[in-house]
Symmetry: C3
Subunit: 162 residues, 3 copies
């Protein structure tokens, strides 16, 4: 693993993140034919991000059964943070983001759990706090059968930068 992130905030977005008491995590270097994020034109697209913290999932299982919605909301924020770290690794500075275009959030859900939007608010609220006007995004929240490594959530982003 190569740490592609720096330790100190490098701009307004990371300063706001620091004000929230959080820092951008490191990004694992690509391990195969796919990467945490790629650039195409003025857009960066991330891979689906799991809520890894220091290389481990803080919780596993299906929301509504073994994972409660409040925990899942935190995990969605963590996934979004990992996605932003992936974006920084390909564009260099999160202050270059002019529009968070799309957030897709998959929530591993018991078929009786219907609160996917509340779970995804963990990601959306963080993005809104960090990017303000540029953070207003389109979003899809979906409840799925199961996610990689039994993660409760997975979040992917498309952002426009200049």
């Amino acid at each position: 693993m190569t740490d592609l992130s720096s330790d100190a905030p490098t701009g307004a977005v990371e300063s706001r993140l620091a004000d929230l008491g959080r820092t951008l995590p490191s990004v694992a270097a690509p391990v195969g034919a796919y990467a945490p994020a790629v650039v195409s034109g003025r857009w960066a697209w991330t891979s689906g991000q799991l809520p890894f913290v220091d290389g481990a999932l803080p919780a596993t299982g299906k929301v509504g059964v073994t994972v409660d919605p409040a925990t899942a909301q935190d995990l969605a924020a963590t996934s979004a943070l990992n996605a932003l770290a992936a974006i920084k690794s390909v564009i260099g500075d999160l202050d270059r983001v002019v529009r968070v275009v799309k957030v897709v959030g998959f929530v591993a859900s018991d078929p009786s759990f219907t609160g996917q939007p509340q779970v995804l608010n963990g990601a959306s609220d963080l993005i809104g706090a960090l990017f303000v006007d540029a953070g207003v995004h389109a979003r899809s929240a979906v409840g799925v059968a199961v996610l990689p490594m039994d993660s409760p959530v997975e979040v992917e982003l498309v952002v426009e930068f200049d």
Copy 2:
């Protein structure tokens, strides 16, 4: 809620919609860090749209169990209509659409139900009738465990406009 749509058809696309006996619904104003649709470059991306009619879901549950496929097909058309209303709210006039690029449709499905494409034809056929050549789109149809508010379907769009 602020009604961002107008009542009268404003162009060829909405006239065709009127010919089908339908009108574009109103769009709820953004309620948080995300919006019904956003513009990035020459593209508009919608949030995942549920088949709300006047603020309520006409049906809930999983297709193949509590919701029959024909009903789900209608709900997919309603979701697509809501998505188009969201697009109009950010580009002003649906006649500006030069290409419906992608339709993703999630169908809350019993694991034994495999007719997601037929359900999504409700959305695709409406888009084809309204946009004709510009309406020929790429599409993914997926059967998922559960959707927000126990909605049977959710549809998202990406369109190119000029």
Copy 3:
């Protein structure tokens, strides 16, 4: 059905495919309001592709129950191949691809099966072998309840071309 593909490799990408002992399948012509792939700006987006071989699915069912992971990995490669054939049908030559931007892979999964990334490596490894540097993509792997026609996998692509 109209065969939109040619039989002989037409460039470096298809030559590499031939070296792997594979050929690009034919693409069924559009049957309705949607198409196997569409072009918008410098990008081509595919529909969700099932692992059809000569018009039939080699296997059906949920991975982790009736379909083993190794078989599913092969099916993911086949789905990716069908997606590439769809892209060729709209851009003419796969050598025009300058970036495989995004791969989304849906795996019909028993809720206990968490190896979606390994399944999707079937698609990613093939794309990496064919496009080399231009094949490094963002990817999301998701486990869903059920897919059209009970397919075990479905793969969609976004690529940039010039």
